[in-house]
């Protein structure tokens, strides 16, 4: 099954391309293959040309499911866990290998046709802030990776928001609609880049403006595509910082910070390198 719903030739093996990355899917049953297709980064299409950069296979066992990808096999207790692992793995694979987009590990939302990109280290609170921004009226684009094209636009890379809930090993997956949000469907030029992490409830967000050069280096810190496609990634990040101001600073509560970020976006005029 293609992402547009049309059928494919083989029910238990399928080659697909997502963001220019070719992937082979294999499963012991058509239903499993279909479930894997449902977890692929969209858009994707079936393809029979080119050599896949990775093959993922899924098969049931007596104790659960085995997911194989690359050189490793992972044992999952149930199908949902196997699909969670597949989805996380294949999204990372695409983010690392895509020749079409520069991928930045970041949350992303849009307001009035301009994107706010929130790069961050793991556990910095990207998803929490992304959810707060959607509650405040921004359109949801991604809470994991921001794919940036040659014009410096961010494309939607949707999946349910992943909210950590320690000590539970798996994050809670919630659709953006659960936060009162709306899923964006169109690419947007970047209007603001915000580097921030949660520093406690009493912290007030007072960011400093980065120079464009500093902003490129900070973005590179979170760019999963930089290692394999450095030149392309470098150029695309440059187009982002020339169009949008970049702010850096620790934050307090997400809802308060979201309001301040939206105000910053409002005051940042398009085409200015900094405010």
């Amino acid at each position: 099954m293609r992402s547009d719903g049309s059928p494919v030739a083989s029910p238990c093996a399928q080659s697909v391309a997502s963001y220019g990355v070719r992937i082979q899917l294999q499963a012991t049953e058509p239903e499993l293959l279909r479930a894997m297709g449902d977890r692929l980064p969209r858009p994707w299409r079936a393809t029979d040309t080119g050599r896949p950069s990775r093959t993922y296979s899924l098969r049931p066992t007596e104790s659960g499911f085995v997911l194989a990808g690359g050189r490793r096999e992972l044992l999952a207790a149930d199908l949902e866990e196997a699909l969670f692992l597949f989805e996380a793995g294949v999204r990372f694979h695409v983010a690392e290998r895509s020749p079409q987009r520069a991928f930045v590990h970041a949350g992303a939302v849009a307001r009035d046709g301009r994107a706010i990109v929130l790069p961050g280290v793991p556990a910095a609170g990207k998803s929490t802030l992304t959810a707060a921004l959607t509650r405040a009226g921004a359109t949801y684009l991604s809470d994991e990776y921001a794919p940036i094209d040659g014009r410096g636009r961010v494309h939607p890379f949707p999946k349910p928001l992943s909210i950590a809930r320690p000590p539970h090993p798996r994050p809670l997956q919630q659709p953006v609609e659960a936060f009162g949000g709306v899923q964006g469907t169109e690419p947007c030029p970047v209007g603001l880049v915000v580097f921030t992490s949660y520093a406690g409830p009493k912290r007030h967000w007072r960011p400093r403006t980065l120079t464009p050069g500093e902003a490129v280096l900070e973005l590179l810190r979170h760019a999963t595509s930089a290692e394999r496609h450095p030149e392309q990634t470098f150029r695309r990040l440059e187009s982002v910082v020339l169009a949008a101001p970049a702010l850096q600073g620790a934050r307090g509560e997400a809802d308060e910070t979201a309001t301040l970020i939206l105000a910053q976006l409002e005051s940042a005029r398009p085409g200015r390198g900094r405010n």
Partner: protein
């Protein structure tokens, strides 16, 4: 240094992007990114293998319309050399100056043109950029599945 013994900017294996007041350089071999401020960028542009540090200081003085001490040039060359942004390392005659010493010594001129500064980043691998993220549901499974990940111990994610 070039064959002439004069500083020469690296040309191969790098990507250079000009920004309004900065210069970005990506070293494709070492996967390092550098952001040169205006002064460091001006010095680097004059490193053509035919121009001495003293002559570079004269040229900067003309460009910035203010006297530029040769120590300012050497301060930039030291950084550029350390970061492999020159074809060959340069060796400063005599001891180098710290940033504070340079500011004290050249004073106003440094304030006008800015102390040469190079901000650098070793670009992390893709797995290092995401390791420990929500993609890692627990210590048993690493979704990134990258042997190159520094936190991958025998296939287990152990940040």
């Amino acid at each position: 240094m070039s064959s002439t013994g004069l500083p020469q900017a690296r040309k191969d294996g790098i990507v250079v992007r000009e920004l309004p007041d900065e210069l970005l350089v990506y070293n494709l071999e070492r996967h390092e990114a550098h952001c040169l401020n205006q002064t460091a960028a001006a010095v680097w542009r004059h490193c053509d293998g035919e121009t001495s540090p003293k002559e570079i200081s004269y040229r900067l003085a003309r460009e910035f319309a203010t006297p530029v001490d040769e120590d300012v040039v050497w301060f930039a060359l030291d950084q550029l050399s350390t970061l492999s942004l020159l074809e060959s390392p340069v060796v400063r005659p005599g001891p180098g100056l710290s940033r504070a010493q340079l500011v004290r010594r050249v004073g106003v001129a440094a304030a006008v043109i800015g102390v040469p500064s190079v901000l650098s980043l070793g670009v992390p691998s893709a797995s290092a950029a995401t390791c420990g993220s929500i993609s890692c549901p627990n210590s048993a499974f690493c979704a990134t599945n990258q042997p190159s990940c520094p936190n991958c111990v025998s296939g287990l994610c152990q940040p």
